[in-house]
Symmetry: C2
Subunit: 254 residues, 2 copies
DNA sequence: ACCCTCAATTAGCCTTGTCTAATTCTCAAT
DNA sequence: ATTGAGAATTAGACAAGGCTAATTGAGGGT
């Protein structure tokens, strides 16, 4: 009964055949590790234009440069990145699709964890990071449906559609650049680690919340009035918060 | 295990002092593969008393016997199995706890997929098999809570509590042993592959459904009246169905 | 132009989990 | 008691991902 013809387990990146021990090279079926590289290349590409360097990847992925170097060669062979020796890589079209797929998984998982399972907004990253590589497209789509195909995740980051295109984003400015006395709605919180998220969650600053900008100090410290009270935010933090004028964004719909 | 470290010559005490490698040894971090071995050992142990043989594991896991052999040594080192050379293994207490944890993950995931995401009852196995190794205890417990801590999964298999003890099970008999003309409620469907589940799902036979046993043929073919009509089930299938008298099991409580 | 530094790559080894081929052990049948 | 079949284990390889040490390339400063 080993017959199993369509036994697809995209799960571990091991050889899937019976006897022939034929490497799964061809297309499809990336290992979780490769997916992480692709996702990270995409992320770095997104906010620092140009090629992505070996060392930048090594930093983000917390592995050594030689490890990255050899993986980049494999990704190049798979046609997922364009590589120029000693210069770094960029994602190919196909690589970008893979990245978007993973981002879709990740953000929908985050939305699901917060909305259906009552997870704390600032505490969902690790769970989603692990799960994103193991949920099927089927499950992803069902989650999306259960949530009503949300355009953004709990941090306000846009969620690619099933066809992997981003929904239209609303216009935003940095909280650090807002006018004193202005009334704004938090739209998105950019983030890398968990520390800032924790900080903001505790301060009651999260997407959908309306703020009044009380004061912008000379060196960037921003004081805002939240529903929970007044909060002072260091500039580094204020830079991560994207807001829209509260008036223009009336209601809940966008 | 090959040449370097994994020889089990009686008097080869050290060799294990490598500095560079971070031994995840101590308890806690098992690989997904190891978890699969543990889970499978538990499953085989459950319905065929005694030690679990290398070849039985090789069959179930679809790997070769030498692969199993070397893995069993590792599991023994981790204290998860008791191993007797050439005789097979049994789970230690600790190994059993690991197994129960995985079973809890698996069955709660199955329940969640069917109840909250509208998955087809017979189609959840693969998804749960992949995910069970990657969901945290936190997530597992939240899922359990969201479902109201169900005692059984969609196949009627009992779900271990958070403390890993099984809930009390209701008394059942095999459908194949039921009296002709009797009225019964389906309690549980035992299964290994997906084929029988598909068969039964299509026949409208699933847990909670009430059946009337129309006929039990000499060689085991059982004919039942389901809400959807009359169905004839081969003996192999009827043996997988556990039922309780519909009268005795009135309501939902037991 | 020439160095010197630092990033990137190559070389070589490790650990997991898997495989095939060869060997060894067990046990039931003679 | 012996033996032979079949199960289990050992031996040796391999692919994936990782690491350290050594080497090579790219560029900026003088």
């Amino acid at each position: 009964m080993v017959a199993a013809s369509d036994d697809d387990s995209p799960d571990d990146g091991h050889t899937r055949s019976d006897k022939g021990s034929q490497p799964n090279v061809s297309t499809g079926m990336l290992s979780a590790v490769m997916e992480d590289y692709i996702k990270t290349i995409y992320a770095i590409e997104s906010d620092s234009d140009g090629r992505v360097s070996t060392s930048a990847l090594a930093d983000h992925l917390e592995v050594t440069a030689p490890t990255v170097s050899s993986m980049l060669k494999k990704l190049e062979e798979r046609g997922l990145v364009d590589r120029e020796e000693y210069k770094g890589v960029t994602l190919t079209e196909e690589g970008e699709l893979v990245a978007l797929e993973i981002i879709r998984h990740h953000r929908l998982l985050e939305a699901f964890l917060t909305e259906q399972l009552d997870y704390d907004w600032a505490d969902i990253h690790d769970e989603a990071d692990r799960l994103e590589h193991h949920v099927s497209e089927e499950l992803t789509d069902r989650i999306a449906e259960a949530l009503g195909n949300p355009p953004v995740d709990p941090h306000g980051d846009p969620i690619p559609d099933a066809d992997l295109s981003f929904p239209k984003e609303s216009e935003t400015i940095r909280l650090a650049d807002a006018d004193e006395g202005g009334r704004v709605t938090v739209r998105r919180i950019r983030h890398q680690g968990d520390a800032e998220l924790r900080y903001l969650a505790d301060a009651g600053v999260r997407p959908e919340v309306e703020l009044t900008v009380v004061d912008v100090a000379p060196f960037g410290m921003v004081t805002v009035e939240t529903p929970a009270g007044e909060q002072s935010l260091p500039e580094e933090i204020a830079q991560l918060i994207e807001v829209a004028p509260a008036a223009a964004a009336d209601g809940v719909e966008v």
